[in-house]
Subunit: 205 residues, 3 copies
């Protein structure tokens, strides 16, 4: 079972990095810049989480996150003309990654000890969504998740489901699975039916 | 007295969050994005301070900062058409918040121990002013405090007053009060008389 | 020998701050804003490194980095019309600073203990190059090092040379010198012969 989680984590890292590298490519980045944007998209959220929790950033203890982002760079360079046909695949990978990152963020916060449940939920959201904020700051755009898409909200719903299932006394694997599923389903339903949050209106509107 | 400080702290959080949410509204953010910008405006400075000091970010130990920012969002959504008439009120709240945040930043640094006075002054300035820098990066603008307004400078003056009063052997409450007052007064006078720092000239000018 | 390293470190800080202040001047920043941009360019990379390593940011223990950035501000204000004639001098100072910052970053990581070699190399690169990323985010531009110039790559090459020399059993001073030289030479050669990384191509190109 550990292997499966690990594989999903690298798939998520790969998918997150791809999203950063593709956006960097639109902005005329060089290979190094594209790699950094991809990497930060993948590991930025978890890094903020770990700094807040006072533990060493997770990627400093396992080179595979950097390697995974490197594979993503090679992949985009080699197959750039075909990527557009893989949009649905990437979307699914990205959603799986989001779901898993959220659960990892929640569990790491609870393992750190001493924090209320709501902190774990917030940290799940940061783990899943903050990387995309860094990505958009690096390419000098307003963060996408602040204007479009149910994304961070999906993480928060996953967090609530996690805590609810835990309170109901479910086993750990069931809690993880239901939480991850609720993240993924929220996002899939929102994108499929074009559901978004209302926008905040300006004072002149 | 503790209650009064707490109340001022939430008033400051509310006012800082309002400033972030109003700017997000101008940029067509959704409700979640506006909330995050408001929250980061309110807690961003203190978070940087706490990470530098090696202590857990303050908002992870008290949910009221997140709740306060939530109230700010509801307030902006409900009363958006009337906000413009409250500009002076918000300005006063914001200034009170700035003064208190500065004092909190100084005292937390001194409580952490082992740092020189100037570090406490810098941390007071970061606590008061860095949230606004995050806000402006998130809405993709050049940070306002780098181009207009005596803002961070007011924090630094408050820090100098704090250290001076402390050196003069004043009681803690007097030190706090004089420091906070000097922040607020500096800002009020600067805005009232449109006093700003000179701009740095380019090499062609 | 310690004195020489210290002097180079302040020269590097000065040169990095100058680069931030000059860019801020082009964007109509006030004196405070220009100072902050200069300071963050100089200390931003080392701050991220120290937060990741879980040690207090280096500038909190030595006021000279803030003072050095202040001198840089005074220098730009006084001599702005002549700066353009000093471009080659600044470039050399900047390159020396980059080389030294990289070595400092590597050694501080190895002194922290418990990290693999590749972490030290990455931290060398962050120490040298992340300040410029902050600078460009603050002036609301896409980070220069993501689109032009061999800069972070020079840090990484310096890191590889450091580890290689260490493995070969060289003395510490030789390792430091060869690593720093390889950073500086890589950058000098790249700029002299206009060598850059290939850009990543977009999906439509």
């Amino acid at each position: 079972m550990i292997d499966l989680v690990e594989i999903i984590e690298y798939v998520g890292t790969f998918a997150f990095a791809i999203s950063g590298i593709r956006l960097a490519a639109k902005k005329d980045f060089d290979l190094f810049g594209a790699y950094v944007v991809g990497l930060v998209t993948a590991i930025g959220g978890g890094t903020i989480r770990d700094l807040c929790l006072g533990v060493p950033p997770f990627w400093m203890e396992d080179a595979r996150y950097l390697i995974c982002s490197g594979f993503a760079l090679v992949f985009v360079v080699l197959f750039r003309k075909y990527l557009i046909h893989l949009n649905i695949t990437f979307f699914l990978f990205d959603t799986i990654g989001l779901a898993l990152f959220t659960v990892v963020g929640i569990e790491k916060t609870m393992a750190a000890g001493g924090y209320d449940y709501w902190v774990a939920i917030v940290m799940g959201g940061i783990t899943g969504a903050a990387g995309g904020v860094f990505r958009d700051i690096f390419i000098n755009e307003i963060p996408l998740i602040f204007r479009k898409e149910i994304y961070a909200i999906a993480c928060l719903i996953g967090g609530l489901v996690y805590i609810a299932c835990l309170d109901l006394g479910m086993g750990r694997m069931a809690v993880q699975l239901l939480s991850a599923l609720s993240v993924a389903l929220t996002r899939l339903v929102a994108v499929r039916y074009k559901i978004g949050l209302p926008h905040i209106k300006g004072e002149q509107d």
